[in-house]
């Protein structure tokens, strides 16, 4: 405990130099910008800016890259709320209630709560990191395929809670998401599935192209169809700050999101995207009136936006304490360290306390920078809604194209985006909820892979899932939740629709 505080203080000593502070601020700025731009996410930005870190000191480079990562989680909610177009995959759920709030003239409070929730969650995450990183890392490393599988199953069950409207259609979307995720290589044996001899398809469907298509292009198509209003927001904007009532509704969601996001950031295949979705499902599940969700419930913004921020802190623990990345962004951060000649591993904290604590300290400061940056910007962003849509949408469409292209520099992704755009547009008209499709698409690969790995690993087949305590616990929770869900649905809707 004391050791951690000492370390933290030394970290502040490292970070509080003009150069490092400047880099932290620069990273926060770039991160926010990258988050705001639809499609371009932290992964693309980090890959592009990696060469810049060559000329910086290791601490400077890492501080900048890390602040871009969590900065993007701040900015991602902006276009989600204002335009119903996600700034990146982790902000998809924010569109659902956030945009509804904007339509009700409450874009300001939505953006404000997103920023403040992000700050609280980000800071809480770093606090946990400060005191518990090594212990958590030691526990996290024991998470093997069976535990991953159980966690993914739990996540999938939670997805069922997210379904708004017809349950059957929701289940269909989940199954379709699963199916779409199998396009590409089967990781377990290297065989091609559903690729029809297309090399591009053998790489699988790019998540970003899918998300931007389903939520960005489809949204533009819908709006363009009804160009009745000239701006997205005909009414006056009601207030720029969250009201006391908003606070009352949100603070618990923020705390829950922080906790959930942190845990989900730790596990492989988790990360900010899964965290945001799960938080939304959780909030919807435990809300007193779940029907408010989808119509502008502020918990639907506060929870997910907090979750994706604390997930950043969570995902940094395995990579900094053990040298094990849990998602592509942290893999890139690891690469950046390696290029600098530093090899993170279990001895990283002991060998390079200046780096570890410097990064941790910078996260406290970075979150403050981001709060100071984003809150005043709320007023600016809200003005964007006044731009006539007919002028805005071509630019937004262009940004979507570039954002999607930035993922793999492959024009094929643009076709994927277009295809899903049209599909999303049609499905929306026919009242299909698209969010479960996306989360199933994200969870399916790891779920399938973990199950098959577990079965191979185990000497007695499926019994491994019961013999390992954490796995058994998570699976039991899934079963329990399923019962609860059906009970609730039958109660409120008088039978399965």
């Amino acid at each position: 405990m004391m050791e951690a505080l000492n370390g933290l203080l030394s970290g502040f000593g490292v970070i509080l130099t003009p150069a490092n502070l400047y880099l932290c601020f620069l990273g926060s700025l770039i991160g926010t910008l990258v988050g705001v731009l639809p499609g371009v996410g932290p992964l693309a930005a980090l890959a592009l800016l990696l060469p810049v870190t060559f000329t910086l000191s290791p601490i400077g480079g890492m501080v900048m890259l890390a602040s871009i990562f969590y900065g993007a989680m701040y900015g991602g909610s902006t276009t989600s709320i204002l335009l119903n177009i996600p700034g990146e995959a982790a902000s998809v759920v924010t569109c659902i209630d956030g945009h509804q709030m904007a339509r009700q003239g409450r874009a300001g409070p939505a953006l404000g709560i997103a920023a403040i929730g992000s700050f609280i969650a980000g800071t809480l995450g770093v606090v946990i990191m400060t005191f518990f990183a090594p212990a958590i890392a030691a526990a996290a490393i024991r998470f093997g395929p069976p535990e991953n599988f159980a966690l993914m199953v739990l996540g999938l069950i939670c997805t069922l809670f997210m379904i708004s409207g017809s349950t059957i259609k929701g289940v269909l979307m989940i199954a379709l998401g699963f199916l779409t995720a199998t396009v590409g290589l089967d990781v377990v044996n290297g065989r091609e599935r559903y690729t029809f001899s297309s090399v591009d398809l053998s790489g699988g469907i790019e998540l970003l192209a899918l998300v931007i298509g389903l939520f960005g292009v489809a949204e533009i198509l819908s709006n363009v169809e009804t160009m009745a209003k000239t701006t997205l927001l005909a009414d006056r904007i009601r207030g720029l700050w969250p009201s006391l009532a908003d606070w009352h509704a949100s603070w618990r969601a923020i705390l829950r999101g922080s906790g959930l996001g942190f845990v989900l950031g730790l596990v492989p295949g988790g990360g900010p995207v899964t965290a945001a979705f799960m938080s939304y499902a959780l909030e919807k599940r435990i809300a007193a009136q779940p029907d408010r969700f989808g119509k502008g419930a502020i918990e639907g913004v506060a929870g997910p936006e907090s979750a994706n921020n604390s997930a950043v802190a969570g995902s940094l623990i395995p990579v900094l304490s053990l040298g094990i990345p849990s998602n592509p962004v942290t893999a890139l951060l690891l690469g950046a360290l390696i290029i600098q000649g530093i090899q993170p591993g279990p001895l990283f904290i002991a060998q390079r306390p200046d780096l570890f604590w410097g990064i941790v300290a910078s996260m406290y400061i970075g979150n403050v920078f981001l709060l100071l940056l984003n809150l005043p910007l709320v007023g600016l962003w809200v003005q964007f809604l006044r731009i006539p849509y007919r002028v805005m949408f071509p630019v937004v469409l262009l940004l979507c194209v570039v954002g999607t292209y930035s993922a793999n520099k492959n024009v094929f992704d643009l076709w994927v985006m277009l295809g899903f755009g049209v599909t999303g547009y049609v499905l929306r008209k026919l009242e299909y909820d698209l969010a479960p499709f996306v989360i199933a698409f994200v969870l399916a690969p790891l779920l399938e892979q973990s199950l098959r790995q577990s079965l191979v690993m185990s000497s007695d087949g499926a019994m491994i899932l019961i013999k390992r305590p954490v796995t058994a616990l998570l699976l039991a929770a899934s079963v329990a939740l399923t019962f609860l869900m059906f009970r609730r649905r039958t109660k409120t809707e008088g039978g399965l629709p």
């Binding site: 930005a45 024009v411 199950l451």
Partner: protein
């Protein structure tokens, strides 16, 4: 009517996908094979399609698919995206997006030529600068080298 078609589509999609998944193999010595998960998912898709088809229509409202002007606007956006995807490898990003913006602004939006060209130029240039120069991303270049 559209709902019906879509439900039939789900059934057909699920069925054909299930057949393909079957050919990949279901269960092997080491547990599930490549085809098992897609097969289960496909069956669920088909099953859901059947259930939806058999349900009495719960809403009597006509499906408001776009007509006339709306339809053209929607098609205009789709056309714009097709132009981007087809043109970028050959003409490069800048030229293609300039053309696309003009198409969008003129057809979907009915701007005047002057405002269309101006806005197209400014937005293309800004995006190119932001991504190409500031972030250092390699946007495709056309035969002219930019």
């Amino acid at each position: 009517m559209f709902e019906r078609t879509l439900n039939v589509f789900w059934i057909v999609l699920g069925a054909s996908s299930a057949v393909y998944a079957w050919s990949l193999g279901m269960i092997g010595p080491a547990g599930p094979e490549s085809g098992l998960f897609p097969f289960i998912a496909s069956i669920i898709v088909s099953g859901a399609g059947i259930v939806l088809l058999l349900r009495p229509a719960t809403h009597a409202r006509a499906l408001d698919f776009p007509q006339g002007g709306s339809l053209w606007r929607v098609l205009g956006v789709i056309l714009g995206l097709i132009v981007m995807a087809v043109g970028m490898p050959y003409l490069g990003f800048s030229v293609t997006s300039f053309i696309t913006m003009i198409i969008l602004l003129r057809t979907v939006d009915r701007s005047s030529w002057i405002s269309a060209v101006t806005l197209a130029f400014i937005s293309t240039a800004s995006v190119f600068w932001l991504f190409g120069q500031m972030l250092g991303m390699a946007l495709p270049r056309g035969p002219w080298g930019w």
